[in-house]
């Protein structure tokens, strides 16, 4: 090898090959850089590399709609969406999940699907506008998945979103998401009754179904108020 690179003709040949390799690799690299992690790899950070923002899980890879729904790119132009940890803890165990059919066009910020909790129906907003290309059939069969793993096995839909990059950019991400969730937590703390306030003193985290624990009579109104994106 050393003899080869000391030969000026050979080293010139290697230089040409390097330039060709560079030109071939540059567009591939740029595509890789602008792409998104593969679905298989994505499951790990969304499901397991969780970051706790106070009481609620907030995965770094996800972007959030203020109506407590999340979105994660699966590949360019395709986005996976679901309900965040705050919403599932606030509402508690879902009896059923009603999802739109494949092919339905969702409007960003408008109701995208419905959760049935304690015989009440809660519409939650689609974080992005797009066409439904896949539904999580497992969560339809077993709604409890949404509570067990809201960012992993409890995902709800996959959308085809042509302007996915700018769409995700308009959602809450990173520090902005942390700040937003902290405000949501503050709003929740203000509603705390003494018995639930004990959770704070214990250093614990809220149990599923916080809204019902806070107010057995008016939990539905309270939940709707706390989930309101405004």
């Amino acid at each position: 090898m050393e003899t080869l690179v000391r030969d000026p003709f050979a080293s010139k040949g290697i230089e040409y090959l390097l330039v060709l390799a560079f030109l071939a690799l540059l567009p591939l690299y740029w595509r890789y850089l602008n792409g998104v992690p593969r679905l298989a790899a994505l499951r790990v950070p969304v499901g397991e590399r969780r970051v706790l923002s106070g009481w609620f899980r907030l995965p770094e890879a996800a972007s959030f709609h203020p109506g407590h729904t999340w979105a994660v790119p699966v590949r360019p132009g395709r986005v996976r969406i679901g309900v965040d940890d705050f919403a599932q803890k606030l509402l508690g165990a879902a009896q059923a999940v009603r999802l739109p059919d494949v092919g339905t066009r969702l409007v960003g910020g408008a109701p995208g699907w419905t959760l049935d909790v304690e015989n009440r129906a809660f519409d939650l907003p689609a974080p992005l506008a797009g066409r439904v290309v896949a539904r999580n059939e497992s969560v339809l069969r077993r709604p409890g998945l949404l509570n067990e793993d809201p960012y992993g096995a409890g995902w709800l839909l996959e959308l085809e979103v042509p302007a996915w990059r700018s769409g995700l950019g308009s959602l809450l991400h990173g520090d902005r998401a942390h700040a937003w969730l902290a405000r949501a937590e503050d709003a929740l703390r203000l509603r705390m009754s003494p018995e639930v306030g004990a959770v704070l003193q214990d250093g614990g985290v809220p149990v599923p179904g916080i809204a019902r624990a806070l107010s057995a009579d008016e939990w539905e109104r309270l939940a709707r108020e706390l989930l309101d994106p405004k």
């Binding site: 390097l18 890879a61 990173g174």
Partner: protein, 428 residues
């Protein structure tokens, strides 16, 4: 966000009012007894004393410089490395003013200020190292232009770039002083200053590399290259942007209340955008390094002690942060961006010190090792720059919104002006 200016414009204050305002602004804002101040102030004072000794008793009194090793830490770190880190200013202004990437709007002023101060302090540190500093003016006034020297180009580039950077920043000074007419005039010069500044930066970043073409045979072949001007230029892009990312992280904590809502909202996207530029330019840089190894027939040198040191620099502090930047952009991971930025900065520091000091006359038995006093002066220069930077950011509309009258001058009155601070009705 907090209000920045409530004083009446200078035109209505008169000279006395302006003087009162300036004296008021000199007063410290907040506590002086902060941990940073307690550490930095004694070092700055000690550095000042050491510099007094250096200028009265000569370089040898506090440095280990000699005829054999005339360039030491002050040039290697302050000048060569500091100027590379100042590269963020020309890249960000190019992105914003030329490529019209509006999302970088909120960091333009702070980046230009950073670049300007870096030149004033770090390029200014050149004076500390000159045997006869008073002759520094010669290439400018023509007493002895020194047209055949690369330093002639460097001197003119530095001087012109400092003027261009100040012009780019000057509308903020006019806003601070409340000088409407002056601000209007200065604002018209901004685009010209930016184009001039970007051109000059590209020339002098590579010009600094060209300086080392004079030292062929004295610099270890792994660091000496005909491509060194190109390598210096390309690396200044990711060096400067890494500093912008790092500095942004600090500013976000230190000047949180002064930052505009626009800045808070776009901060994450800005970091990801800059990280992407870093990743792209590092890809090009790594390719150039490989071509340089093959072209210069230096591959055989890699398995030597200096070769291992070279590999540490290129693999550990270019390839690794390059991979981190790439994954950080893909995963939109802010923390990874910051880690990559810090590793990149260490890599640039290593590279510039390797070129200018460590690999210089590597064959000699006696080597230059900076004296402790040289470290103190170097730190003193860095801390002094941070003090001035902090003073300006805490007073001028750098991170905070400009006054409403300045924004109204730029946009039609009917358009909303997010983040602008209204001036009192008495002067409206």
């Amino acid at each position: 966000m907090i209000a920045t200016r409530s004083e009446a414009p200078a035109e209505r204050r008169g000279l006395q009012g302006l003087l009162r305002f300036l004296i008021g602004e000199l007063k410290p804002k907040g506590s002086l007894l902060t941990p940073f101040n307690l550490i930095s102030a004694p070092i700055i004072v000690l550095a000042a004393v050491l510099l007094a000794i250096r200028f009265t008793h000569g370089l040898a009194s506090i440095t280990n410089l000699s005829q054999e090793f005339p360039w030491g830490l002050w040039k290697g770190f302050n000048v060569i490395t500091g100027v590379a880190f100042a590269g963020g200013a020309y890249v960000v202004t190019f992105l914003y003013y030329v490529l019209r990437q509006d999302r970088y709007h909120s960091i333009v002023r702070i980046t230009v200020l950073n670049g300007f101060l870096a030149y004033v302090f770090y390029a200014g540190a050149l004076l500390l190292d000159l045997g006869r500093p008073w002759k520094v003016i010669n290439p400018i006034i023509g007493n002895s232009f020194g047209l055949s020297s690369v330093l002639f180009l460097v001197a003119w580039h530095f001087m012109l770039y400092m003027i261009a950077a100040f012009l780019e920043f000057s509308p903020a000074v006019a806003e601070w002083l409340g000088m409407r007419r002056l601000r209007r005039t200065l604002a018209t010069l901004t685009l010209g200053a930016v184009i001039f500044g970007v051109t000059l930066s590209m020339l002098h970043q590579s010009g600094l590399g060209a300086l080392f073409l004079m030292a062929k045979g004295k610099i270890h072949p792994l660091w000496y290259s005909e491509f060194i001007p190109v390598l210096f230029f390309v690396s200044s892009i990711f060096a400067g942007l890494s500093l912008v990312i790092f500095e942004g992280t600090i500013s976000k904590r230190a000047f949180r209340t002064r930052m505009t809502d626009e800045h808070h909202v776009h901060h994450d996207e800005i970091v990801l955008g800059l990280s992407k530029v870093c990743a792209g330019t590092m890809f090009v840089y790594l390719f150039l390094k490989v071509v340089d190894l093959v072209h210069g027939q230096k591959v055989g040198l890699l398995d030597t002690p200096m070769g291992h040191w070279y590999l540490l620099e290129v693999l550990g502090f270019v390839l690794v942060p390059f991979a981190l930047f790439t994954e950080a952009v893909r995963w939109r991971n802010q923390m990874l961006c910051r880690v990559a930025a810090v590793l990149t900065m260490i890599g640039i520091l290593l590279n510039r010190l390797n070129v200018s000091i460590i690999s210089f006359k590597w064959y000699e038995t006696a080597h230059y090792v900076p004296s402790p006093w040289e470290f103190v002066v170097t730190l003193g220069v860095v801390f002094a720059e941070i003090w001035v930077f902090r003073w300006i950011v805490n007073r001028l509309p750098v991170l905070s919104a400009p006054p409403l009258w300045a924004v109204e001058a730029r946009v039609p009155a009917t358009r909303p002006v997010p983040g602008a601070v209204p001036v009192p009705t008495s002067e409206a």
